[in-house]
Symmetry: C2
Subunit: 336 residues, 2 copies
């Protein structure tokens, strides 16, 4: 690599000390009383040499890397990809760079990502926490690491979070199905200890109970798996032979996809034989012969709020804020 230009090179060229150059480069020429002509000379020299400060050296000295670590379940999943993009843009607006890691919903992987990011001295973390990682998160809080949880959180921990109001989302999704005449509504969810799943299920249950359909309440909890085939099999096993279902509420995008594959395979008619509502949009659902009604999350809001909350946390470490944002129900053919 052609010799990088250092602050020292500029200092030598102009014939001053490195301190002056640093002051000027950081816009402190007034405060530090640098002479006008020197300021000009330094600016010119910096321009000519195309000086770019070395962020690593700056980071070591100032203790701030201007870097945010983002841990999602899997950046290849469109939901997280889109969120990552919003976060990238918002971070960049504020002078931060984002490093991204995928945990695969696995506690061990999440732990090693946290380690990697933390010894790279990130200024803060945005995490979509995996099941069973409350201890990891608690440890971060104890360390004083600025931290925002996204999509899910641990009610027992004092952390900032930006999530969906999942209870309300499920409740209204169920109400919508009921308003369309569906009664025997089954929910298909992941088996998980995480709050977002619990809330989605709770919303379903309470909406069903409120409509006096308590006896139709049925929740199918599928174990999490990367293999779509495996997920499909689990769903198949449970729907199969079950005549007493006239609608399905899927708790996630991937469950919806798996479920639709099964429904396609079996030739079940949507929305006549079965009504469907899923979570999180996806191009795929537009192309299903009966476009799928979805609970849509405010991705932009989630992403920007996460970043801004994190940044304000860096300045004011004790200000805990929590957001439970509202969904929008995008009603289409699969539920009417």
């Amino acid at each position: 690599m052609s010799a990088r230009v250092r602050i020292k090179d500029i200092a030598e060229k102009v014939g001053v000390s490195t301190a002056l150059v640093s002051y000027v480069m950081n816009g402190k020429e007034k405060e530090k009383r640098v002479g006008q002509d020197i300021v000009k000379k330094i600016r010119e020299a910096a321009g000519e040499l195309n000086y770019q400060p070395n962020r690593i050296a700056q980071s070591l000295r100032t203790g701030s890397t201007k870097t945010i670590g983002l841990i999602v379940a899997d950046i290849a999943i469109p939901f997280f990809g889109q969120l990552a993009r919003v976060i990238e843009d918002e971070a960049s607006k504020n002078g931060f760079t984002v490093i991204i890691g995928s945990s695969d919903e696995d506690a061990i992987k999440q732990g090693s990502l946290i380690d990697t990011f933390s010894y790279r001295q990130v200024d803060g973390l945005i995490i979509v926490p995996s099941d069973g990682t409350a201890d990891q998160i608690a440890a971060l809080v104890k360390q004083g690491m600025p931290l925002v949880l996204m999509d899910r959180y641990f009610p027992e921990l004092e952390t900032c979070h930006v999530c969906l109001d999942n209870y309300k989302a499920s409740y209204e999704a169920v109400n919508h199905l009921i308003s369309q005449g569906y009664q025997q509504i089954t929910m298909i969810a992941y088996r998980s200890g995480m709050i977002h799943m619990h809330e989605r299920i709770r919303g379903y249950r309470e909406a069903m109970a409120a409509a006096n359909f308590a006896n139709y309440i049925k929740v199918l909890e599928v174990p999490y798996s990367f293999s779509r085939t495996e997920t499909e099999n689990s769903i198949e096993k449970c729907i199969n032979g079950n005549k007493e279902i006239d609608a399905l509420l899927f708790a996630t995008n991937s469950l919806t996809t798996a479920g639709l594959n099964y429904i396609n395979k079996m030739g079940i008619k949507v929305p006549d034989e079965i009504g469907i509502v899923g979570y999180d949009g996806n191009e795929a659902f537009d192309f299903f012969y009966a476009p799928i009604t979805i609970v849509e999350q405010p991705l932009n809001e989630i992403g920007t709020k996460s970043v801004n909350t994190l940044i304000s946390l860096m300045n004011d470490p004790d200000k805990i804020v929590r957001f439970d944002l509202s969904h929008s129900l995008n009603i289409r053919k699969s539920s009417r």
Copy 2:
């Protein structure tokens, strides 16, 4: 944040100099002849204090950040999200962390990402270059920045690249359509100066010519736009009223999506009235009533080869290697 443990803390605890601690932490205790009992004591102390080296300080000293910068068009697009995931995993296997940026196919954005990444001292870059950025890439090469281009490249520049053999892919896609009895095959591509687009078009043209369908050759070049609606309109304008088309070859994922929306809207029958082949897989295409035949790229291979090429380039800067990998044609209902 609770006081970070430094090498000095360990040195003081054990009662030795920081040099010894550094040697032991880097596994150089043999080479540097550190006494056995001291090695043990240092290891113990490091464990007790839970020492994690400060990567920033290491980077400043060693000149290597163990970081790779990845610039894609948009991390929210599944194709790039999946690629990013493969790259993340392969990089991590080799001790590297990835920072990601989205250029939106825009030269200015790409330029500022390169600046950001380079002044963060990344050890190398993997770039999906935007149209009109040959000068940026040339500048990087001149600087000696280890660099791998992905998905596209500039034939006039001496760089490593990992791409698809786009010519062959289009050629075979067209041959497939022809073998299914289609003749009036139109290609829908983006207007772009980039080689990948040219090659896709060239493959189409030559396959058509070879089959004596030269008079049916028609390439529709759509200007790139973020707005799907806009893209749809462009496509609509060109297909509309054009009776002399019995098959469409879409040059990208997003064009396929836009095209299918139009086809859906118009109620055109696939594959009877029109045959379809698209580039790059996508869940969405599975759910189209006639699942779409696609040119599939070897994502894993592209990602891992990009990372490995980049790493070998860091050690051996002059070794230029170029990969033009083979696609696989995933034949489904839309083309038979």
